[in-house]
């Protein structure tokens, strides 16, 4: 319901400044909800966690003086100083290794990758130094670190700036992988991630940073936290389950509205957590609707949808009335030209068509609009 309300506010460019925000927090208890952009949600979460725990510190390129490449860390350098907001030289491998070392000695780093594409330079440290350390040391070394940054496709940034890493990181034991959609997701999940003793990969989305969502009074409280590993049913339905995460949740909600008019009631599940995957919620929804569509922006082979499909086939096979449909990005490197880019990522129409196919309402597979 709130998802639909927030859609109308999307391009208003409404954002909350720091001082306005403080007033909102004070006034929040008098109202049922306030609007907040994802950017401000992340900023406020970082601010509150840094304020509550002196061991939390931020590290990354441009996070300090520049206020953050996407302004997520705005104002934090001024507030906490250069010892807690560190501008790093250009070496993802280097600063990730350093952050992991600091975490070994009980600091709580929040490492920002300008985009997760650059995390590939540091992936050895993320997996071999962070994810596996607790296991390899049999519990002697814990790594309370958070790796965050924008993930997946943006707009017109080409092949090396558009890959989605949810499936790669989601495969690794030892990591927790989160993918927020709304501002409430962003606040609750980031706070949970920072407080978690395990290494967490926090996949944001650049195009969502500027989007506004209503946030409840509870979500604005500094102790607010969302559980890791629990998906959210954004919209209830009875005909088809659509499972997705991050930006695609917004597309799926729009698709659901279109489907509603055609008499198909879609249940939209916002995963929130890629690892651990909330198999229970997914399966109980499929057992109710008997149809499953998964949606992701990333590459199709070995994607998140593949794992969801396998889970449902293993646990709820008898409940399926139709084969599972996976919607994913095209199996090509992301092209640059706007028309080609549009064809390479899922659009609302693709979700609508898939839902109709799965409900035996249409047979068209082609993306002819």
């Amino acid at each position: 319901m709130w998802g639909i309300v927030s859609r109308t506010a999307v391009n208003r460019g409404f954002s909350v400044s720091k001082s306005q925000f403080r007033c909102l927090v004070q006034g929040a208890r008098n109202f049922s909800s306030k609007e907040m952009t994802v950017r401000d949600a992340l900023n406020s979460a970082l601010d509150e966690e840094m304020s509550a725990d002196p061991k939390v510190f931020i590290m990354g390129e441009e996070v300090g003086e520049y206020q953050g490449a996407y302004k997520i860390t705005k104002g934090l350098l001024d507030k906490y100083g250069p010892e807690r907001v560190i501008d790093t030289p250009i070496t993802e491998a280097g600063f990730t290794g350093i952050a992991v070392g600091a975490a070994y000695h009980s600091l709580k780093p929040v490492v920002e990758f300008m985009t997760f594409n650059f995390s590939m330079q540091a992936i050895d440290h993320i997996i071999n130094s962070a994810a596996k350390s607790n296991y390899m040391s049999a519990g002697q070394i814990s790594v309370p670190i958070v790796f965050r940054g924008p993930n997946g496709a943006a707009a017109g940034v080409g092949a090396q700036h558009s890959q989605c890493y949810a499936a790669w990181f989601g495969a690794c034991p030892g990591l927790k992988v989160l993918a927020p959609y709304s501002s409430e997701d962003a606040r609750g999940l980031l706070k949970a991630a920072i407080r978690d003793p395990d290494p967490v990969v926090f996949l944001e989305n650049e195009l969502l940073y500027g989007e506004s969502f209503p946030v409840s009074a509870e979500a604005l409280d500094s102790s607010f936290c969302l559980p890791i590993g629990k998906a959210k049913i954004e919209r209830e339905g009875k005909d088809v389950t659509i499972v997705t995460f991050s930006k695609m949740v917004g597309f799926a909600l729009k698709a659901a509205e279109i489907l509603e008019k055609e008499g198909i009631s879609a249940e939209i599940i916002n995963l929130r957590s890629i690892r651990p995957l909330d198999r229970a919620t997914i399966n109980s929804s499929v057992r109710k609707t008997n149809r499953l569509v998964t949606v992701e922006e990333g590459f199709p082979q070995h994607g998140v949808g593949a794992e969801i499909c396998a889970s449902v086939v293993e646990e709820s096979f008898e409940y399926l009335d139709a084969p599972v449909e996976r919607i994913a990005g095209a199996d090509v490197c992301m092209p640059y030209a706007a028309n080609l880019e549009r064809l390479a990522v899922p659009q609302i129409e693709d979700i609508v068509r898939a839902a109709k196919r799965i409900c035996f309402r249409s047979t068209s597979m082609a993306a002819t609009g």
Partner: protein
Amino acid sequence: MSVHLLKSRNVVSHFRSKLGFLAITNQPTCWNTNLNHHFHTCSRSILQNLESPHEFLCENRNSLCFHRWESTMAEKHLNVTEHAMDYPGGKVKFTSDMSFIPGSPEERIHCYRVLDEDGHIISSSNFIEIGKEVAVKMYMHMVTLQVMDTIFYEAQRQGRISFYLTCIGEEAINIASAAALNFEDLVFPQYREPGVLLWRGFTIQEFANQLLGNKADYGKGKQMPIHYGSNKHNYVTISSTVGTQVPQAVGAAYSLKMDGKDACTITYFGDGGSSTADFHAGLNFAAVMEAPVIFFCRNNGWAISTPVADQFRSDGIVSRGQAYGIRSIRVDGHDAVAIYTAVHEARQMAIKEGAPVLIEALTYRAGHHSTSDDSTRYRSAREIEWWRGSQDPVSRFRKYIERKGWWSSEAESDLRANTRKQIAEAVQFAEKTEKPPVAAIFQDVYDVVPSNLREQEKLLRETISRHSKDYPSDVPV
């Protein structure tokens, strides 16, 4: 003249920045000033005196030699003009002499040594006198390390453990560096430094348990042999990835500094490890972040089969310190006293000044890379034997302490016999100890065992009980 100098702020500030550089390099140099005078200095203490140049100039006239500049002398800075520019990063003087700095110095950076090959103190050495108790303890640990390596290596050859790595030839590096540190200094090893853990009190039995991967292993059987680790000994669990420990040590040092602790971190790596990207980032960052970390490079000439000539063309690793703005020293890796002194000093500098230090120990990998390697395939057995025999750090240090009257050949044979027996027994005991229970597979993936793994464990146990004949009866469930 000196009065004129004091009034000239330009000169003093030139002087200040130049002397800063001099203090770091400890080499003579010369430059042109407003008054066309040469200054030749060689004292490191000058750096400390730059706070008050007035007093300094008055008190230290003797150490500064004022030479008249001779235009006919072919000097390095022949055509330096006063014209300088404040670039981002600092002031730089211009020269109209186009010359390239050579890739390698005419003479390689000298190697600090205190004991000669016969264990005599080289006269006029500047070193720390190690007391009898510590010296004997050091020697005994070096012997234990040597014997441990021999027996565990043989155990692998006999098929009792799957893998082993020796540190033959590097016993002094292991023990002397450990002895110079405090217990609270956090150690980030590569994999050829079990001696540091031994020094800190890790027992032979604890080593054997890890090698056999039994239930008493602190690693709960999760890692292959020689991947020791112990929180209570401040020794970070060994990870196979090469060089990753370098930036990690920097991050941990930063954490120690933020906590205001009287402790530093030390990280060890080899000549091969210095080629990794992590080495570059680690050293660069440590300098920028001013982290109290000691970078200890064991340059033993070989990275498996790659000789140093194929690894880099720089003058070893010590020459890179200056490239990162880090103080560095080259020491004889077979000389326990030199290593002890260098690490002790480095530790003081790192903590007091919050600055990193680089130590390169020149040595030779007298053993094979590991039990998976036969190094006679790429180097001559004669070469290996020569280094093993004539440069053995253990015998060198023994000669030193024997001469002091602190050791005897009787003590020697007793120690070796007892240690051999102890280690052999430890291996036998470790072999008989139970392996870790099945639950250990699922523990420590995360802080708290998640529901999917609890489920898997349950399924596994059910499978084991249903098909018990397919599972070994002596392995705990």
